[in-house]
Assembly symmetry: C2
Homo-oligomer: 556 residues x 2
């Protein structure tokens, strides 16, 4: 390709507000352009990279025995209604009607579409297992589109769905996909961690993110030895406090204090960890939930929502708390309005003679004991993890941060329970529901993650496997004929080459080459005589070598 | 691939109502499944064919110097409003709103998206010409979705857009694209005709369809020597009638007759071709247009709409005609309500002493002469062509029918006139508008066209270039070990093979192989001993050859 003919050239600067390196460099190097916020054009250089990402994914998925196919972009809405995902996905789901009034979802994932397809075939155990995948446009009506390709409102995803006779066979596939994903990312130069995560609106019981460590990532996780989990699901051992006292009789006392935890400590002269902390929240339908935890810990709202099985939680207002018959700063699970669901963190179970509010202004309860004085609707883990806490394996948790480039989900019977007829004939001739999993990789986000990892002040430094071209040929003035010869020899040898054939200064050409970041730069000038200058993008070292040597190195 | 593991197997019959061969066979052979009417899943066998179609298109487009890229699926609606295509596309355009109220079109083509992108770059004549293409999902809210992949509501299209400094450079590209398309279809075994056609809501002055002849096609065209045009634009010489009389004085006479042309002939005892035929129509906004033509010809409503520059035409009702001050069966351009636009076919210009109604019940006008007694708002060609008419080149027109597999459009300044700032800097430093063209191929429709052409009673007969696999290996009972050896040898040699490894009868395997239509069938059985049976799908001849010979033939 001659650079002079290339559509979508480099620009010296990016618009203000492009904070992320990948956002800025993918724009400046001429790989992408934003249409409107969160929706991108991929220019010729960008699509070349994306195609190579696709090819790597395809090769590895095929090697793992998965089969490519594709579903329509528009999903009949009744399928999403069958699984109630029209509710749980909330505003993220875009919908459209055709002129006959049929409704469609612009899907963010395609579980329903696949289950619908599969249940139409009358399959038997002999047809199982199978794993089908597609590269398809996905839509998420995000409130905020993050900078560049990291979180967009429309993107191409490789999404795969596997169907199994039982859990055991699924577990084999899940491990195979985890390994396959790891290899896919390794081939693009990305080391990933497998991080246990929250299933969210995808459903199912567990899932893992494949995370590339990065300071700008949105995935916060905690790690200790073999253990690695997203902050929303990470577990830790509650440290032992001095809870060996005998239970005393509970008593209500006057408590002229402010609403904070600290005010309670000061007034009662008891440690923070002996105080009970309460957090009142409301869900999308107006139902209340109280999170209860040991005073020195904090509540993670995602964990609370998951344990409570409630969605769209927000903190209750002071008015709402008073209306419930309690009082802000003096909330207590004891004597609370019965319509509030009470979720108790496991840390509270070991507390003895704790203190808390009394649901009345300036009244506290002392010597409160869980089990004796109050009970939970649900006990569980709703605590926020912090670096330094102890993992279940006895090792200290270290905080990490990264970009989620892929994810794998156990779905189990989540969809096949909700969608009628999603079953196969087993060996005994009986109908049995499919056990499922699903697996996703966002192509654009993967590209952005690579750029976040591989860049310097001058521009991108593409790994060979997904570089838009293998080599860039820079020809300086006065050697056009020689350059053309070299270019044609490279093309003839099947080497992907971008030839900067413009009549501009060497400086401009060199900085554009650095910005675009093709792994090898060849220079032909009057100084190189019958040789060619070879330089790798990441190195400062230049070498003068023959055309034959260039071809040899490129064809390796 | 082992057939036992393949997702999406053959079925013995298709649902009732699958009238087209391609609809039935693509379903039965397990290549596609309909989601809801006009929206398709491509199963693993189907996506393999589609990928090969894509690859051929990509190779030929790249060879022609075009560059692949991609636009977002959702087009900001304001771009479509800029070109008024929100009106002209009518109901076919699906629209969707996001949660912030931003509106988007689910595009049927992407001219606006490309012009929007290109105008953001400040390009100069040095950057021209260029031709960018994409494989992207297209949406058309068709009232009726035709059987199978021939006319769907959602499909993947290769759409290309070229930008030029002037018309002359565009014309070069247009010819290049016509040639490229011809070669693309030839590589898939399709001979295509280049048929002049109507631009419709795409805009521009002229376009051509690439049509594969087929009786089930929706494209009706007329051909005479070099000339070939769709019925909506085909031109013909109006045959000479005896129009050498002197013009007589026009007179109004009583005419107690019915509303038909024949009634006029009978009453006045004058030939049909001396009568003036009038057709009153109304557009989407309630504006009237009268088509006027020689009595022995018929009006083509698409031509009428194009000459009148009006859209969504329908015939006027009797009430509407009376309200206009005329009378059904006695309409005449003479003395007609001024708000009616009068379009006169060129055939009327040579008529002498014609007769027609008088806009009153039972009153006719005799000796009517165009130019003297009435004038057109626009003169043009609004006549329906028929087989046997004479083309402008003097040869007789023959009627043809086929499937439109591709199309190429001159757009000229249609979009760059309507969209502000769509200009480049010319050699003199002045801003000049881009001259454009666009070019499309529907992938699914192309697949269906191939199946329509290549099939027999037993199933599909894929051309090698786009067959889902190169060979199918059928192994009969008792030779599993040998079959596995052959399979592995083929895989190792890089040959795409589908191995029917099921434990079913030879008959079932053979008929499935014929249904799927892979070009070469290999059989390994106890009878073939150390040889392999080789049979091409389209032939009855079987040969016993060695594995080495099989490999040799496949690797050619």
């Amino acid at each position: 390709m001659r650079y002079s003919k290339l559509f979508g050239k480099t620009v010296r600067s990016a618009p203000a507000g492009f904070k992320l390196v990948s956002h800025r460099l993918l724009h400046q190097a001429g790989l992408v352009r934003e249409s409107v916020a969160g929706r991108y054009y991929f220019l010729p250089l960008g699509i070349r990279v994306r195609d190579k990402v696709m090819k790597i994914i395809e090769e590895e998925m095929d090697k793992a025995g998965a089969q490519k196919m594709i579903t329509p972009v528009l999903h009949p809405l009744e399928l999403w209604e069958e699984t109630h995902r029209t509710d749980s996905t909330g505003f993220e789901l875009m919908q459209v009607k055709d002129r006959r009034g049929a409704k469609f979802a612009l899907g963010g994932t395609a579980e329903e579409m696949l289950v619908e397809l599969v249940r139409r075939f009358k399959l038997s155990y002999k047809d199982l297992p199978f794993n089908v995948y597609q590269f398809s446009s996905k839509f998420r009506d995000e409130l905020r589109a993050r900078g560049g390709l990291l979180r967009t409102r429309e993107f191409v995803m490789k999404d795969a769905y596997s169907f199994h006779a039982d859990e055991k066979d699924f577990e084999r596939e899940y491990e195979l996909m985890a390994k396959t994903y790891k290899r896919i990312f390794e081939r693009m130069g990305l080391k990933t961690k497998r991080v246990a995560a929250d299933n969210g609106y995808i459903g199912g019981d567990y899932c893992h993110e494949l995370v590339m460590e990065s300071d700008i990532g949105e995935s916060k996780f905690f790690e200790a030895g073999d253990y690695c989990a997203h902050e929303e699901v990470a577990m830790f051992k509650r440290d032992k406090k001095k809870f060996d006292d005998k239970q005393k009789a509970m008593k209500e006392v006057e408590a002229k204090r402010g609403p904070t935890m600290e005010a309670g400590v000061k007034l009662h002269k008891l440690p923070l960890w002996q105080q009970i902390k309460d957090l009142m929240m409301v869900d999308g339908k107006g139902k209340f939930v109280l999170g209860v935890i040991r005073g020195d810990l904090m509540i993670n709202e995602v964990k609370l929502a998951n344990v409570a099985k409630m969605t769209n939680l927000r903190q209750a207002t002071e008015e709402e708390i008073i209306k419930l018959g309690s009082y802000p700063g003096f909330i207590s699970p004891i004597g609370l309005n019965k319509k509030v669901k009470v979720i108790v963190d496991i840390s509270v179970k070991e507390m003895v003679n704790a203190y808390t509010g009394a649901n009345k202004k300036h009244r506290d309860l002392l010597n409160v004991n869980y089990g004796r004085d109050f009970k939970a609707d649900v006990e569980g883990d709703i605590a926020m993890v912090q670096a330094g806490y102890m993992a279940e394996n006895g090792k200290k948790l270290v905080e990490g941060r990264g970009i989620e480039v892929g994810n794998i989900f156990q779905l189990g019977y989540y969809y096949t329970d909700l969608m009628k007829g999603a079953s196969f004939t087993d060996k005994q001739g009986k109908q049995k529901k499919y056990y499922m999993g699903c697996y996703g990789i966002g192509l654009g986000r993967t590209m952005a993650a690579v750029v976040e990892k591989y860049n310097d002040k001058q521009g991108i430094i593409w790994p060979e496997s997904i570089a838009p071209y293998q080599v860039t040929l820079v020809s300086l003035e006065g050697v056009e004929a020689k350059a053309k010869q070299v270019y044609e020899a490279l093309v003839k040898a099947g080497i992907e080459v971008l030839w900067d054939d413009r009549q501009v200064s060497a400086g401009v050409k060199f900085s554009d080459a650095d910005l675009i970041g093709i792994p090898v730069r060849l220079v032909v000038s009057s100084k190189t005589k019958d040789k060619i200058e070879w330089k790798r993008r990441e190195s400062q070292k230049t070498e003068l070598i023959s055309l034959e040597e260039v071809l040899k190195r490129c064809q390796k």
